[in-house]
Symmetry: C2
Amino acid sequence: MSPAGTGRRTPRRTRQRQAVAELLAAHTGFVSAQRVHSLLAQGGVEVGLATVYRCLAQMVAGGELDTIVAESGEVLYRRCSADHHHHLVCRRCGTTVEVHDPHVESWAHDVARAHGFADVHHRVEVMGVCRACAH
Amino acid sequence: MSPAGTGRRTPRRTRQRQAVAELLAAHTGFVSAQRVHSLLAQGGVEVGLATVYRCLAQMVAGGELDTIVAESGEVLYRRCSADHHHHLVCRRCGTTVEVHDPHVESWAHDVARAHGFADVHHRVEVMGVCRACAH
DNA sequence: CTTTGTGCAAAGGCTTTGCATGCTT
DNA sequence: AAGCATGCAAAGCCTTTGCACAAAG
């Protein structure tokens, strides 16, 4: 609520937080908390599942991460890219392609404003079966 | 899989199914399964929660209902309108406006095909704060 | 009568939380 | 030294499933 400064304190620099941050920095697509946890474990980095959840939550609060909710109800995390874009996802293998189109952006905005809505966000997900999975 | 006819058998006509169907027919927005259950209970109609889930699942499979996943992870159900469209939702009061734009439809399709994706579906959600809540 | 639907309760998956301990500052 | 971060396990929520009984066709 403070106009100057977001009021969020800098988190402490721990091995676990660093590991989670690095993994998400290296990862391009969306990842679930559970997956972050097991990927770290596979890489030999032991981090408690609860800690993973807490780190991710803080990173989201800090604007470092973006989230979507999968159809299963799982929350998926992704590092925020500078520019807004959307995703084309293969529902079989999970391959993700980033899509960018200013047309859709302005459309969403226009529609919202036409109805008197402010502070507009939008989310577009296009799902299909990619060529490799289509056989 | 049968070319003529969808292959889905007509569900039996039960008090419970009727109740769920009627509630969704009367309801305009999105509702969770839990809410359907308690609304029915409030109306004096006792239907098991599991049954509510099963009815909803069948109605979705039959194309009678549309679903989205809320940020909480809950699945929300809504009766399907004949033509495909999207939603503009107020994140404060939940007011929902149906939006329809062929431009977005074809865009989604084109993008997907350009990347070799087949059997394409898409979902667009525009969220904002409506005029009444903007004060 | 046969088959499908229902109810209850248990189980399952993801996520959050309480509490004691360890590490950062 | 003081306080946030971590881990573990338990608890919470929504949803699904197994099984016996009831109802529909």
